[in-house]
Symmetry: C2
Subunit: 325 residues, 2 copies
Amino acid sequence: MSLNEFSLIEKYFAHFGQGESIVKGVGDDAAILDIPKGNQLVTSVDTLVSGVHFPQDAEAGQIARRALRVNLSDLAAMGAKPLGFTLALTIPGIKEDWLSAFSAALAEDALTFNCPLIGGDTTAGLLTITLSVFGTVPDGQALLRSGAQHGDHIYVTGHLGDAAAALSLLKASDIDEPKNQLRTGREYLLNRFYQPTPRLPAGEKLRSLASAALDVSDGLLADLGHITRQSGVGAQINVHRLPLSETLKEFKDQQQAIQWALTGGDDYELCFTVPAKKNAIVEAMISLGELNATEIGRIIEGNKIRCLGADGEMLVFDEAGYQHF
Amino acid sequence: MSLNEFSLIEKYFAHFGQGESIVKGVGDDAAILDIPKGNQLVTSVDTLVSGVHFPQDAEAGQIARRALRVNLSDLAAMGAKPLGFTLALTIPGIKEDWLSAFSAALAEDALTFNCPLIGGDTTAGLLTITLSVFGTVPDGQALLRSGAQHGDHIYVTGHLGDAAAALSLLKASDIDEPKNQLRTGREYLLNRFYQPTPRLPAGEKLRSLASAALDVSDGLLADLGHITRQSGVGAQINVHRLPLSETLKEFKDQQQAIQWALTGGDDYELCFTVPAKKNAIVEAMISLGELNATEIGRIIEGNKIRCLGADGEMLVFDEAGYQHF
């Protein structure tokens, strides 16, 4: 195959790089972006390595969607609005089918989330995808990890534990999988892993309401630990309040589901804290269907995260969450 | 080794992330940057893969410097001023010595070029480094590839061909290397490969003067080809005017040196074009030592790049330059 780097980017990736803030996208030494007045730039980078962050036999489209969505989730966690992204793609060689599927899925998601491609680099090596996303947030309104205070209510969006259940399916370690499990349930779980939904609308709505926020990528306990450490507080989680999907509840016993919800990563839901005086607004938004979130506990004094069962008994879980190394 | 991802970034990389525009650096879901009023954001991404972009036995510090400098060169080519960078580091495992050397060199260069680290990601896999650099340029003043016009003068900064000579040393294919070659000459060439100097001051000075610019990463002919294609013009290079370092001239015969200067990549000098009416300014800057650049030819009509020898004879070179695939 005689495709070179220039034509590779032009052929597969240059066509989905339109956006009002994109002064110059793919095709020069660097991209040029206009940052709207009164806004700050928000940027995050994530690398996905084949065999580490997704199975080696994952489909090109699945990898593309996961790569972009995982990064967009970081923007959501800051309350930022997407502006564009860059793609650094390392591939073993040029397979037209793979590249077509990868770029088609990426282009579709770029459109869905209004986040055009603004630049990239392709190199030869083991399959590794590094995406950098760019977003904007009104000056000083970004959601940080460091603002939680004693008495704040702790929430998570959507459901937790689905992605960990999907990983157990992908690792095929679950030979005791229920025989009557529906195919749709399996698909739902795998989609939750491969196509997490970046909670961008929720992030934007929470800008003026949440005292702290982040996305759950390494597991609730591990990630909430970032909020408690950076805010200098403790937290109490009521595990019976953890939002579990119907599929997860059918898939496994409650104890395993709760374990996954607390320590499994990859759900990319937002975990956020709300000061008591603003809590009624958040509750009203939830009641009106403006926000899909569940209160799971409270910020407390100290520096520990306590897990309480339905009867208020203390539970012990491994806080480590997912570790790359 | 029980270091996890969080402490890895904190221990080795979080300490060199200060800068006046950095509202939030390493340690949250994303970084937050202030873009000074009247400026646009300029961003570029480059991946370096072990065994492809640098030898597998390259030292950690060499890799770090090359990674940052290669990226900063893209900012220079746009006339942009550095603001900060993100690092996505994929490493086979945690070796304290390697990480210390890598982060020390990176921190030193970050300081030298006033470009602090603002965020990052570490993953497990084959050694791959993806850097994204961020810079600013006054609104509308970025140097693009598309502005060259018939009659413009073509310049390059510094010297060409040194990095290709260094690569020939690294590949150890030069068993006929002159025996009397000085060790300092070898070091000079290797430094030109591992520690290219991003021409940031030149890029900023050229904002109001150059009609087109880029950095020479894939070889002069290949890269000048981007300017001619995107500007819809041709070019004529007088090969006897190509700026060759004294070391390169001593290292090899003139024909090989010129071949490297035309088609070897990795020099990271700027190639830029200047309209006739502004050429006296550029010449004056060069005379006064304000700009280190050499005129090497002219933009002509058509769409071809012609190489002329000392007596005006047409020469033929491979235009392909360096190709990753």
